[in-house]
Each structure stands twice: as C-alpha cells, then as structure tokens.
C-alpha cells in the first residue's frame, strides 16, 4: 500500500498526557492506542473530528495552529470568518466592534464565509439535477465527515457532492477580487478562522483539490480571546450592527443544523454528531434508508456551534445567531444593493467543482484477499482466548482491536492482562517479563513505587 501523508491538526502533548484511555475509548474510528504511557493517534485512521480532545481530562490533546505573525508575510491580509464566531461573544459586544478588533489585529479585510452560500446553493441544485441518478447526495460541508466516509464507508464516496464548500468559494472570491484590484498573487494572504480541527486538516491536506486556496488557519478560540480582551480594555461605543453589510438568514443559518437541508427540495435529512452520522451511514450503505435526496451530515453536536474551538455554550451561541439573523431580516433594505460576490458568481461557479473523493478504507486486513482471510481466521482464534470485556488495559480500545493489532504485527498478545496472568501462572512467562510488558504499554512512571502511607 502506498504511504500518503495526512496532515492532522490534533496533536497529543506527550508531557501532559497521562495515558488514561478516555480518548481511546471515544474515538469513532478506533485510531488511538496507548503506548509507553501516552496516547498515540494513527494518522491513516484519524478523521479530525475532535472527540478525543473533548474527552481528555487533562487537556493533553490540542489543535495545532499556524503562527499568527505569518499573516504579515502578505500585503493584503484577509480574515475569513465562520458566522459561528459572531455567536461566541456576550450580548453587549457589537458586531462592529468585533470586525474592528479583527482589523486591529492586522487584517486588511474581514469577510464572513457564509456570505457565499447563494453561489453554492445554486450550483448544488444544478449538480443534483444533472446527476439525479446518484441519489442520495451527501454534502461536502464537513471535512470530518468526508474523511469518515473515505475510511469507513468506501462504498458511499460517489454520493458526496463534488462541489467546494463555502470556505473555499469565499477564498476564491476574495483572491480574485484582490487580483482584479491589481495585487499580485503572492501579496494576498487568506486566513480562515476555524471552529474545529477538521477544517484545518482540510486546508493542509485537501480532498478532491490539488491545493488549498487558503494560506493559513487561525483557531477561533485564539481570535475570541484577542478580540474580547481588547474590547474589554477599550470601551468604545459603537452601533450593534454594521450599516453597509447585509447577512441573509440563509447565510447565518448555514453552519447550524438544517442550514443546508432546509434549502433543497425533496427529502432532505440533517444529522449532527458523529455517532449519529455513523448510524445513518450504516443504514444508507445497507439501503435500509432509501428515497432520500440530500443528507446534511456534520461531525459536531449541533454542527459548527459545537466545534471543539468554540468557547461559548453551543445553545447560547445558536440563540444569538438566530437573533442576529432575525435582526438582519427585519432591517433588510427595501432595495437590495448588488453584493460584490454576485459580480463574481459566474467565475466562482465555473471553478466550483472538485475531483471525485477517493476511498481509503482502514478496515481491510490486507489488499490480498487470500491473506486477509488468513488474518481473519487468526483474529477469530485470538478472540477465543481474549476476555471480551474491552477493559482497555492492553492499550487498545477493544479486545477485537487488540486481536487485529496482533495479526497486523502492531501488538503482542501478552499485552492482555488476563493472558499475562494465565501465562505467568502456567510458568510460561516470568513475573518480570509480565511487568516489563505492562511498563511498555503504560510507561515506567506509572509503576514507580508509591508509599501508600503518604496519602
């Protein structure tokens, strides 16, 4: 099998990690093992959903971000914002302040990516009409879901709509706009403020595109802290909403659950939270669910408002965004001025396509079926001696996962604590050997002598 490098923004900080197995047990693709006392993420299986980060009790899993000062490598510095960012701030912070503060951080332009939804909605309708035989259509919105389908549901990759998500459309729009104003390609730096780890991975190793249109990614919690800190210190009075911008309800609602599904005709389902999505994809694969036209699938609970880099409670953030959408709707100008993005609509729609998403199944035991069958037989034999209680004490999330690791040469059967005890009793391994195996899994420090009387 060819070795491909997949970028992941989720990183385990070994010095902080206590090897507690919480992350290992929640990972939806069983990508995590505990080795030498710390969590180890399998890059081929990880889909950047962020479940591990949410589960970590000691904050040992972080979202790696680009160095902020790199924005100054460019003359034109564009901050692309997700609308959920605007839902993070307390009610007394105005939108004008948020925009101003982001500019004060060093950006020359600020644009909310969901302003591009109309371009995408239009193209999606055309795409679904043209390829109607490939129903049900799965949105390419959530990068974690696209990756999940690649690794776990290879039969469904053809159902993914081959269109760019709004982030990429906005990036393309802004780049073209600035180029038309006379700036050279290398003078333009486009940065996305991300609510999750998956969108970082999508920028660093894009699926269906050769190169990302985005130059760098900044974590949403970083921007949130910076902006809120300077607002608290300045106390400038501004209007709550800007005067020259109009955001439609479609745009503001786009990243929230049903944002996409409510825009298309036919039977459209909106599903959020990765385990819910897996359940539906299983049924879809068996054709237990038929007659569905469009599926909006998002990895985070309550979609992007539940992103791992969101700071505000997701329900409060959603309420604020709904209020914001209602305000803009009430104050809609009588005659809508033509928006800049509409001038580029034809150009953007001509460049909106992406390549077919390629499957890269993590499930197959071997590319040669004969070998795979042999391995499966071996796994079944190993499973007969494992305790099947999925205790995780071997450093694998389930007995089945240990058996698979053993067959693939990634683990030893003796990592199972039950087998260790049995083998020690039979005299097949010495107590020292058994101890050494446990140290390999859990790290030496975990077995340092502790005096019980100290506590």
């Amino acid at each position: 099998m060819e070795q491909v490098h997949f970028y992941h923004a989720l990183k385990v900080v070994d010095e902080v990690c206590i090897g507690c197995t919480h992350c290992m047990n929640v990972c939806p693709t069983a990508a995590i093992r505990v080795k030498n006392g710390t969590a180890d993420i399998n890059k081929n299986a990880c889909v950047d959903c962020g479940e591990c980060l949410q589960a970590c009790p000691v904050n040992a899993i972080i979202v790696e971000q680009d160095d902020f000062t790199q924005i100054f490598n460019y003359k034109q510095r564009v901050a692309l914002l997700p609308t959920v960012l605007l839902g993070q701030f307390p009610d007394d912070v105005s939108e004008v302040q948020i925009y101003n503060e982001i500019k004060d951080l060093g950006f020359t332009h600020v644009y909310e990516v969901d302003g591009a939804v109309d371009v995408l909605i239009d193209s999606t309708k055309k795409f679904m009409h043209k390829h109607h035989q490939e129903r049900p259509f799965i949105s390419s919105f959530c990068p974690a879901i696209v990756r999940l389908i690649q690794v776990k549901f290879p039969a469904l990759v053809d159902n993914i709509i081959q269109l760019k998500p709004v982030i990429d459309i906005s990036a393309q729009f802004y780049r073209k706009k600035l180029q038309d104003k006379g700036y050279a390609q290398e003078e333009i730096g486009i940065f996305y403020v991300t609510p999750c780890a998956a969108k970082i991975a999508a920028v660093k190793s894009p699926v269906g595109e050769q190169k990302s249109l985005i130059d760098g990614v900044i974590n949403m919690d970083f921007i949130y802290n910076k902006v809120l800190l300077s607002i608290k210190n300045s106390k400038k009075e501004t209007k709550k909403y800007p005067e020259n911008i109009h955001m439609s309800r479609r745009s503001i609602g786009w990243t929230l659950t049903t944002g996409e599904a409510s825009r298309y005709s036919g039977r459209c389902l909106a599903i959020d939270e990765i385990h819910n999505v897996i359940e539906v994809l299983e049924k879809l694969e068996n054709e237990e669910i038929t007659d569905v036209d469009f599926l909006e699938l998002r990895a985070c609970d309550h979609s992007c408002a539940g992103g791992v880099l969101a700071t505000e409670n997701r329900f409060l953030a959603i309420e604020r965004l709904r209020k914001r959408a209602a305000w803009y709707h009430r104050n809609k100008p009588m005659i809508m001025p033509e928006r800049e993005i509409d001038l580029y609509k034809t150009y953007l729609q001509e460049n909106i396509g992406i390549d077919k998403v390629e499957p890269r199944s993590i499930l197959s035991l071997d590319s040669d079926m004969m070998v795979a069958m042999k391995k499966m037989k071996k796994i079944n034999r190993i499973m007969k001696v494992l305790p099947r209680i999925d205790c995780g004490a071997c450093g694998a999330p389930r007995c089945q996962a240990l058996a698979e690791d053993v067959v693939q040469g990634k683990a030893k059967m003796t990592q199972c604590v039950f087998l260790q005890k049995m083998l020690t009793k039979e005299g097949l391994i010495s107590p020292q050997e058994s101890f050494d195996i446990s140290e390999d899994t859990w790290g030496k420090s975990r077995f340092e002598k502790k005096n019980l009387n100290d506590h």
Binding site: P154, A155, E282, K283, E285, N286, E287, E288, P359, S361, L363, S364, L365, D366, S367, D368, M369, M370, A372, M373, M376, K377
Partner: protein, 137 residues
C-alpha cells in the same frame, strides 16, 4: 470461510444485524465496495423476509476468493407460488408489517437484482430456503 447467524422471526428492531455483520467481514476482506453493497442489500432483503414471515431462520455465509454464497433458511409458512412472489409489488405481508415500512412486495425482486444467482426452494408450512451467489471477479 464460513459464518453462521441466527435470525429472530418477528423482531424488526434487530432486522439487518446479520447483514451488517456480513458487511463488516467483507470490508475486512477487502472485497470491492460495489460488490459488498450489492451483497448486503440482497442479504438485508432476505433477512427482513425471514423476520416478517417466518418463526426463525439462519443465515449461512460461505466466502471464497472467487464468490460469496449465502443460504438463508427459515422455518415458516413457505411460499405456495414462487413465480408470483417474484413479481414486483406482490406481497402477503400483514397490514401491521406494512405499517412498519416493510412488505412493499419488492423483497424477492430486489434480491434477484442485487445478486448474480438466486435460487429459492420452499415447502408450504415448513419453510423457505434462499440461496444468493455473488461472484467477486
């Protein structure tokens, strides 16, 4: 390689679990996703048939490098007229079964569509045996 699964008659909440197990196995064996899909769709239909009509049944799966042979046998009412049962839209499912979204009379034709070979034998008041063969080549 052989696998055996039991199917419980009347328990719709579990309908599909045997086919899902087979799907997992085929994915691990690196079978072409398109063939997996065809196979699983036909097995799911056959499994639902047992749940909807029979008292109990078995799914016996035999996987080889060139083909997958699945036999689904049940103890149940049997099919008096197989030709009629093979027609799209023909169904003997009870109104209760139909209310649950099953029994549209597409089961057997759908199995045929999603398999390379399909054989049915049935004895009234004894049971039915459906054999599904899909080639991997």
């Amino acid at each position: 390689m052989e696998f055996k699964f039991t199917i419980e008659g009347g328990n719709f909440s579990k309908a599909g679990s045997a086919s899902s197990e087979v799907k997992k196995i085929l994915k691990q064996l690196n079978v072409n996703p398109k063939i997996i899909k065809r196979t699983v769709v036909s097995l799911y239909e056959a499994e639902v048939n047992v749940v909807a009509h029979a008292f109990e049944g078995n799914m016996n799966v035999d996987i080889d490098t060139d083909k997958i042979v699945v036999k689904i046998e049940d103890k149940g009412p049997g099919i008096p007229d197989i030709d009629q049962a093979m027609q799209e839209g023909y169904s003997t499912a009870t109104p209760q079964v139909r209310e649950m979204g099953f029994g549209a009379g597409m089961g057997l034709p759908n199995i045929k569509r999603n398999s390379d070979q399909m054989n049915i034998t049935s004895k009234v008041d004894v049971g039915t045996e459906v054999e599904i063969i899909n080639y991997l080549g």
